[in-house]
């Protein structure tokens, strides 16, 4: 399998779409999560208050605004990179991971390259798991780069603001990297499974994105009152991705006042999804005729 891993890493490294997707992802992080927020917070106009407002009250409003601005800026500082970026992973990172997973496998069907690869000797399981391992490495790198890009952006902002510079605790960063990697892995595994089942890239990306962006939300919000349905909603992959990611923000999770699922349970549900997607995809890949 190490031979297959080496081949897969070479392909991923040389493939332009890997770099394009990674660059888009990092650009989105830096632009939307840091640059745009910083520009908006820095340029917030002072509150408009009626002329006859007492001076003390005006002063109080100004202080409140200043406090709010400092809080918003503080989120952007490097020590809060986990708090700032992890909750956004399901909405921004999941589609990228899904596309990467579908591309990694689906393109091989499109180019008919599986027949060339398989006849070279490695064995179907070695090819499949080598591919997954390489994909996993890329996803973990993506999460690490996400935090690195966030920390670097925060470093610049803290410098501009003259604020003291700190970094998150190593343990917190490791937990967030693990959680982020798991979230991306689930969606990449879904992309892989769809690509294996459909033997196509475009269709698997289309179906995967429709599910992640629309279908799960529609099903989640169906006005069904039964307890079984409410319980079932706690096992949706999108919801559990959100529960796990937002557990790093300290905010209410998934729109719930009380999170219905805690982080360890969400992680377990996601692990189960990732394992199921991978086992099913491997089974189909190993058994089906390679046309």
């Amino acid at each position: 399998m190490l031979a297959s891993l080496g081949a897969e890493l070479l392909k991923l490294r040389k493939r332009p779409s890997t770099w394009v997707l990674g660059s888009i992802w990092l650009a989105v992080i830096i632009l939307l999560s840091y640059t745009l927020v910083y520009v908006l917070v820095s340029n917030t106009p002072p509150p408009t208050v009626p002329e006859d407002t007492p001076k003390a009250q005006k002063e109080q409003l100004r202080e409140q605004q200043q406090e709010l601005r400092e809080q918003q800026l503080e989120i952007l500082f490097p020590e809060n990179v986990v708090f700032n970026l992890t909750p956004g992973l399901p909405s921004l990172g999941a589609p990228i991971a899904l596309i990467l997973g579908a591309l990694t496998v689906g393109s091989e069907y499109g180019w008919s390259t599986f027949k060339t690869v398989i006849t070279q000797r490695p064995g179907r399981y070695a090819v499949f798991f080598g591919k997954l391992l390489a994909l996993g490495i890329v996803l973990v790198l993506l999460v690490v780069l996400t935090f690195a890009a966030g920390a670097a952006s925060g470093y610049v902002i803290a410098g501009l603001e003259g604020a003291p510079i700190g970094f998150p605790a190593a343990g917190e960063l490791a937990r967030a990297t693990g959680a982020g990697g798991l979230i991306l892995a689930v969606w990449a595994a879904l992309g892989v499974l769809l690509a294996v089942l459909l033997r196509s890239t475009a269709l698997s990306i289309g179906i995967g994105l429709v599910y992640s962006f629309a279908l799960e939300t529609i099903i989640f919000n169906l006005p069904i009152q039964s307890k079984a349905f409410r319980d079932a909603r706690e096992f949706f992959p999108g919801q559990n991705s959100t529960f796990l990611a937002e557990s790093f923000s300290g905010q209410p999770q998934g729109g719930f006042a009380e999170p219905p699922v805690d982080a360890p349970q969400a992680a377990l549900v996601l692990l189960a999804y990732a394992a199921a997607f991978i086992v099913l995809a491997a089974f189909v890949f190993s058994r089906r005729d390679m046309d």
Binding site: S4, W111, T116, I118, T119, R121, G123, A126
Partner: protein, 305 residues
Amino acid sequence: MTERESPRPPLVETSGLGKRYASITAVRDLNISVRRGEVYGFLGPNGAGKTTTLRMLLGLIKPSSGTAKVLGEEPGSPDGLQGVGALVESPAFYPYLSGRDNLRVMARYCGVSHQRVDEVLSQVELAGRARDKFKKYSLGMKQRLGVAAALLKDPELLILDEPTNGLDPKGMADMRALIRRVGHGERTVLLSSHLLGEVQQVCDRVGVIHKGELVTEGTVDELRGGGGILVKAEPLEEARKLAASLEWVEGAMIEDGMLVLDADPEKAPEINARLVSAGLRVSELRSVERSLEDAFLELTRGETI
């Protein structure tokens, strides 16, 4: 190619091999054997089941019935594939990678050194264009890269599926020369083709497949048959009777004013002497050799390729 004399243990052997797709039978009860060191031509019209058979031998698709052994192993097993190089249908590579990088990827999969990549690139005369992207290659270059990938493991058995398909005449000639080069020595080549001339030029033995079934298997000479002798003599009927009485003449018939003898063409001088000594006037006598095309058309009842 020189014909090998003694039969050797088969490198590829199938027994009752079959493949069904829903209601369509692509291959039925196929029994072929490819001997070590020979160039075996797998000949048949388009859609006869050649590619399906090769895919089964490589483990890309599973047979519906029967068994096959390739280098003594189950088709598609890593141990068996270690000694097999293959080009199945059109060459398939990563369009965004160069020719060399594509081979580097394949070399990693089969565990051979990168040095071997440069060797096979030279062997197929692609070294000068190795840095170009695969998507920029001409069809002939793509086919040669496919052969290069098949040669990476320096395989005992080379399986080439219609390697000249889609090539212009020069490309076809170059590819045939390449096949002759890589098929020398102890290497065994299983070459599928629908081009009779190609098989006749390159192969030692041939298996003819038609509508999923093996019609015949043998050397090119065996398939073509022993040929015959054409005689123009007067009186013709007397000449026929005399020829038919000879024990080495297996058949004698009159067609279009000529006597057609089913006999070894090397016996032509002897038949001439017999006829002349019997007082018959011989005005024309020549040996005829059946082409592989004649044999093929006879075997497949005239279906075009």
